[in-house]
């Protein structure tokens, strides 16, 4: 049962109930996480679904987290893990159904203004990178996480983050160079 919030919610995250933690973190983290998932997945609808599930998982885990920073890290990690899992599932389904690659459903409003600067083209190239490389780039340069934080979210070493990032940048530069 969804508990009734106290009239004056406790401001110390350690005191929050699981319900409060979801409400508080939702206010600040939901939109950035949906956007993170969209960059990882390309599908805003699925991104939102997956982000909601991350909050449901947070509710279950709150008893152990009880800390704002750890909760945010947990949400990012859950979104990244589930996005990776969804992509793998999508690939399996695509392979079995021998389906042609779907048209990219990412909003293409940027097509006009950004095309001139190559933004859309750059994003398209990011989407073609291997999953881990794309994750590293998005976490480092969209969320502006440090290498250590990125390593934590991805569940890999700092060295692996450096190498994924470096390889991704090389691939992007090569790709953009080839198109000119």
């Amino acid at each position: 049962v969804w508990s009734v919030h106290p009239a004056v919610p406790a401001d110390e995250p350690g005191q929050w109930t699981a319900d409060e933690a979801v409400t508080r973190l939702f206010a600040t983290q939901y939109r950035p996480l949906v956007r993170l998932a969209t960059l990882l997945l390309r599908d805003p609808g699925q991104a939102e679904e997956l982000t909601q599930d991350a909050f449901v998982a947070l509710h279950q885990k709150w008893g152990r987290l009880r800390d704002h920073e750890r909760a945010v890290a947990y949400l990012r990690q859950t979104v990244a893990n589930r996005a990776r899992s969804a992509l793998r599932h999508r690939n399996v389904v695509d392979r079995f159904l021998r389906r042609a690659v779907e048209p990219d459903p990412m909003p293409s409003a940027e097509a006009g203004a950004l095309a001139a600067q190559g933004g859309a083209e750059l994003l398209a190239a990011v989407r073609r990178l291997p999953t881990r490389q794309r994750e590293a780039l998005v976490l480092r340069y969209y969320l502006d996480l440090s290498e250590a934080q990125t390593a934590g979210v991805m569940g890999v070493s700092v060295g692996a983050v450096k190498s994924h990032t470096a390889r991704a940048l090389v691939a992007l530069r090569r790709h953009l160079g080839e198109e000119r």
Partner: protein, 324 residues
Amino acid sequence: MSVQRLRSAFEEGVAGVGVAPDALPAIQAKVRRRARQRQRLTVALAGAAAVAIGGTAVLLVTRPTPVPPPVIAPPTVDSSPSPQSSPTATATPVPTTARVPVYFGGPGERLFREYVTVTILYGGNGDFQALDRSLRGDADDPDYGTRWPAGARVQATTQGPDGMATIDLTGLPASTVPDPLAVQQLVYTYTAVWAEQGIQVPGVRITIDGVPVPGAQPFTRASSVDTLAPLWLISPQQGASVSRTFDVHLAGSVFEAAARLRVRDAGGAVVRDDQVMLSIGAPSRGEAHLSLTLPPGTYTLEAYFVSQADGSERGLDDHTITVS
């Protein structure tokens, strides 16, 4: 290309991504639903343990929500308590019902489909119950049945992280070699139940007491032309009661999309016999809806088509209904 350019591309790329206005209530509803499912699963597992006889537990495993399972996260924040570790649950299961597609064997060595209402005790989408109905051949239409031997039962249905499903059967000799249509009966049923929820199951493994049956595992849907009956009278279903004016739904793969619908009264006399054009002809599967008005009484609706080769009637699917 500078990193700054990448940052701008990311920012602008998601600038148009909005969020649902009811996202928070949606999360709260999922939290409540999850809590109920965990309770039910605990009850189900306790029940399964209670009926374990001779080392064979009847274990019902269903995936509660159509969400890709998470990859194992680092140990600092992962691993939830397993449902078995909360022995305090005392909730009584709340039965729900679902209308699910079920495929049956039928005349002409082909499959037919009925929608059946099943009762779900412990959560899930009804895939287990749909397979159970299919295996038992428990159809409304007496012309439909099962391609599986009597006694076959579903033991468990599971889905792996890759979406691949496994249907474990029991009550059969380990040496059972199902015929291809029997395999398709289960594959079509299982994938149809999930497809109704927008989930495409890439393949289905079938095991008997954990041992894979012979065949090209994992199985996928065989071509509908070779598997499904050429013509289905989808609704009204066998035994249905309808009002004077009712909708008739046909589907099938017939030459030039030309199907026929004949209506006989209780004495067997033909009341009418009409050509019905499906939306598309063979080899595609077309559909048609038409509205019929009949005086009260008992009737038999007969869907069929005329063979281009010899003019004979083929593909008969008939349902007896009551108009009131």
